[in-house]
Symmetry: C2
Subunit: 392 residues, 2 copies
């Protein structure tokens, strides 16, 4: 075991990262302590950037279609997106290395790279999960209609919160749990009009296989995001571009293996990954890559929940923009849905709903074990967390 | 001015009741201090009773129809409901008077009655507003379709809260305001399916007269409820049956005047108030009367907001019961709507969202003036109300 700046850097200790420790990374905790108006400004930048990229998406998708259809294989788009992200990470790394100060640890030395690669091996997990998710998306559309798939996707918010609680030891107040449920409901109310009129009762196929598929479809991407957040934050001192290089490197490998697999089953035409691509699809790939990179900033410097809210706000602004541009009237569902989303957002991020931070003393571990019920320990009541419901 | 038990009882001082005093009634404040599990049990009884009566309503309305139509005049139903409530109040008063202990102030003496009548003269205001509201209901249906009327009615929740803040000096936390907005949204989402498909954009007529009508339609009944609560609580020591006798006595007079007015314009056939009535309509009138009496218990011993939540819960249970009884499937709207309503209810009534009570000292008046912004007075911060947003 090699200790540096109080962080375990030895690759032999990876299993320790998954053990239930209070802190994911001391470096990240130190960073969190400096959370301030600067952090809020950074978060706003992230959300605005995300909104722009997500808003461009439907335009680029529309432009990529030829006669209303995609002429390229979706797997090839995934692969090329991963490659674009790797290229971006490499360029940023070279840029960062050139602007290093004298005396800093060289960023591009082989030893640094090998070292970081070992420390960040955990990134292979989210990369693998993301790759699986990309195929699930297409499989799901064979079993459910697109509107149902969209609605099921909303459940991810709650699953992510549960996973953050388990894996990242995040604590949410009751109001925050309710805020997440409201986010889910708000998005769903907004989507209701896209459900065909006949399917007004919940139109799910009742077969057990459908439930299993739904479970996988919701859990895999949620697990991918939370593991990604965990892996990025747990090696907080590694450059995010180096972490991205690993994450997307693994992603490119998994997607390439998939292309090879499909080639074996369906013939060599799938190897021509540029078939059916145009300038518009290149822009689409570029946009996808930028969204992926921005996500990694969310996961490392903010969190998965902020990313979820950001995507929702982006959808809302796209809705409002298209209503203004194309002269649509806003539906009752849209107005009600976004009202619920905005209330949810205020409740989730307002300081009054936050779980109160407990003072860092030896008693902390004892408190952790009482995570799920209101503690009767007088120490806790003295520490300002005595409002019912503030400790979940 | 005559003071008794610290309460101004003189009829000459009515204007004082409307002046911005911190307490509506010291007797009510004393009562509120004893708010306990007993109060919660009483509130539960009120809500359960309300649910049963509201649940019976559609059954009785269905039974009262002959060939799908009402054969009686709605005004006569209103008048007879008021008379039934007066009769119930008289019976309860006689019952109470017979069980009085020796030495207590006689309840049925003329002096007590005249005294109470003067003190409770304010009850004429809600009685008049209710009478106006009964006609507005029918007028509105000429201008808007029933679904739109139903949706506009939901706005009452917010108007009532604003009026409670102004008239009753109630303070709500931000979470509670949001909870009320969620209640409004939840009910509306649940009603969405009853809106015709073509009217997916908000189908309001844009004429100014429509806005004015809507405003009156929403404000009049809200004002009636809040004034009723104010009048009942401000004379807290008067028996609720005596207060009901006055309230419904005024109501009967206003409705009788309306019948006379209609008779003058439309001919003497309207004087036959029992025309078209059956046993079922008698039950309907009895149910209406019981709902009215229960409301007065809500207003005096709980509040208008609890009554609103109670009505909503009643509607939800009616929906679930009819789904079970008649084998309907629950719609997505219903499930989403009631989820929002239940989250709203938890947020409104949970202790963590409550505005913290400040200690009763001479500083109180100074604090009252800072009602709308977070106080920076160190005294307040010491008193436990230092969580951002807890003081609205």
């Amino acid at each position: 075991m090699k200790m540096k700046n109080g962080i375990i850097e030895c690759s032999a200790c990876h299993s320790k990262l998954l053990s239930p420790t209070k802190s994911v990374s001391r470096a990240y905790d130190k960073y969190r302590d400096r959370v301030s108006s600067k952090q809020r400004f950074f978060n706003t930048l992230l959300v605005v950037g995300d909104c722009i990229l997500v808003g461009l998406q439907p335009v680029l998708v529309y432009m990529s279609k030829v006669d209303g259809k995609f002429k390229f294989s979706p797997v090839s788009v995934n692969f090329q997106t991963e490659v674009a992200k790797v290229l971006f990470a490499v360029i940023m790394l070279i840029f960062q290395a050139r602007h290093q100060r004298v005396g800093e640890k060289p960023m591009l030395s082989i030893s640094t790279f090998v070292h970081a690669a070992r420390a960040n091996a955990l990134l292979a997990v989210p990369a693998f999960l993301y790759a699986i998710n990309n195929y699930l998306k297409f499989t799901m559309q064979l079993y459910f209609n697109p509107a149902t798939v969209k609605m099921l996707s909303n459940l991810k918010v709650l699953v992510i919160a549960v996973l953050l609680k388990i894996i990242m030891k995040r604590r949410f107040s009751i109001i925050q749990w309710e805020a997440l449920a409201l986010l889910l409901i708000g998005i769903t109310v907004n989507q209701l009009r896209s459900v065909p009129e006949g399917a007004s009762s919940i139109g799910l196929p009742v077969a057990t296989v459908a439930y299993v598929f739904t479970g996988i479809f919701v859990i895999v991407p949620s697990l991918a995001s939370v593991f990604n957040e965990y892996a990025l934050k747990s090696q907080y001192d590694t450059s995010i571009y180096l972490q991205n290089l690993f994450l997307y490197g693994y992603g490119a490998i998994f997607n390439f293996l998939a292309i090879l697999g499909i080639t074996i089953f369906q013939g060599p035409s799938n190897l021509n990954i540029f078939e059916g691509h145009s300038k518009a699809t290149m822009l689409l790939i570029f946009n996808n890559a930028a969204q992926g990179i921005l996500s990694s900033f969310f996961f490392k410097y903010a969190d998965t929940i902020l990313k979820k809210y950001s995507s929702t706000v982006a959808t809302i602004f796209t809705g409002i923009a298209s209503a203004i541009l194309f002269g649509h009237t806003l539906t009752v569902n849209f107005v009600l849905g976004i009202s619920v989303v905005f209330i949810s957002m205020h409740q989730f991020f307002s300081t009054l709903s936050k779980v109160k931070e407990l003072p860092k003393t030896g008693k902390l571990d004892a408190i952790d074990e009482q995570d799920d019920h209101r503690s009767k320990d007088p120490f806790i009541n003295m520490s300002g967390a005595n409002d019912e419901g503030h400790i979940l």
